[in-house]
Symmetry: C2
């Protein structure tokens, strides 16, 4: 009953059912390769493959030398994207408001606009832009990678090129260039992390990321755009929408 053709799927389905039902609780231990071969009467390959699949699904984590365990799922922290819009680091401010200790680093470079960025800023190909890379940490752990771009002619040359302190916020900096920021558009997608992101964010296998493309507008004109990458197992993004009357 309730089994499919391939042998390993019988194991996968069996264990998955126990996990979602809760008879294998989070943190609980999964039978070892050797136990699975005995219990289900299959070869090592099938047992191994079954465990691989569960790991890829993010249901299970393997600890070398110890065993496989049902993955513990941290609660998702809400990020209220409408709050702290005037701040330099709205996400950091939101997390701090929730009682987390947040630190960050940033580094500023002048570069030709990468493909895609030029279009987002409505600039010609390879126009000079200022790129700022951020790494945000909460309680010491990296929780956000971001790269922000603005046209070089709007960036000015105020302030340091890197640090752990707050820069001025985007609207504050733009206002120094005589530009009033009127709105932000955020575009949210999801994808599998790149290896470098997986490393930096310390992601377990099977964790997708949220990728937010964020653009500041002065009227219709884009004046700053950024790519924000967040671990999908730690955050959810909250957007309030006002209803037409």
């Amino acid at each position: 009953m309730a089994s499919s053709d391939p042998v390993y799927l019988r194991i996968v389905e069996d264990l998955r059912r126990q996990i979602v039902e809760g008879s294998l609780p989070p943190g609980g231990s999964i039978p070892s390769r050797a136990q699975l071969t005995r219990r289900y009467g299959v070869g090592e390959t099938a047992a191994r493959h079954a465990l691989r699949v569960l790991v890829a699904e993010g249901l299970v984590v393997g600890k070398v030398g110890s065993g496989h365990y049902v993955r513990e799922r941290p609660d998702l922290l809400p990020l209220h994207r409408d709050r702290f819009l005037g701040h330099h680091a709205p996400l950091a401010a939101d997390l701090q408001a929730q009682g987390l200790r947040v630190t960050w680093n940033w580094r500023l470079e002048r570069v030709p606009a990468p493909p895609g960025i030029a279009a987002r800023l409505r600039l010609p190909e390879s126009a000079p832009v200022v790129r700022t890379r951020y790494v945000l940490r909460a309680a010491g752990r990296p929780v956000q990678l971001a790269a922000a771009y603005e046209p070089a002619e709007l960036a000015g040359e105020s302030g340091p090129a890197e640090g752990a302190e707050a820069r001025q916020s985007v609207p504050a900096r733009m206002s120094a260039a005589g530009i009033r920021v009127t709105g932000v558009v955020e575009s949210v997608r999801t994808r599998v992390p790149e290896p470098a992101e997986s490393d930096m964010l310390d992601l377990v296998t099977g964790t997708p990321v949220l990728h937010v493309e964020r653009t500041h507008l002065a009227g219709e004109r884009p004046v700053e755009t950024s790519d924000i990458v967040l671990p999908g197992d730690r955050f959810h993004l909250v957007y309030p929408l006002t209803f037409p009357a």
Copy 2:
């Protein structure tokens, strides 16, 4: 150079580099297991494993009997979550405005509030609610699964229990119960799809989903909430935010 300890990782990194660089273009074919064993001087297991990893990353798809190919990535369709807020099916309306042919089915049931839903609607545990399940299709392909819940006492008994036609929108139905809907809150997360979702949405391995938790509010009071699941390789969600003056 540029290689790591395990043998299979050398293959993975080599192929991944060629894919992201574009020397292996989308749709292009990946060396077969046999070719990889010869070319890299490794056993079948390592070659097999390397291909598995690339498939899990969503960079590659395997076609049985034919070969592995670089995955073709469809453009992401924007879903403007602020538009068509007064419509029965805002997502469908948005897609139709983009020129897609959209159809849907829904089915209505009276059930006790599932865990989590009661809290979201601020109802007691297992309070009676009306659940409506939707399957949305664009150009014939399923593109959205949704389950909407509203308190049974607000639902009334107007209209059919299932169909392919539009129901009244949430604010229209609520207004019949004397309630004026004032806002919506959307909470966006990402996760690996459940097997049933993978089936229904026809997802290739390595595709995460976007999961939107959407709640209609009358003032502070939640009057309807829904879970919306979207394939992560087809859509991105667009939220405009107005900037404080």
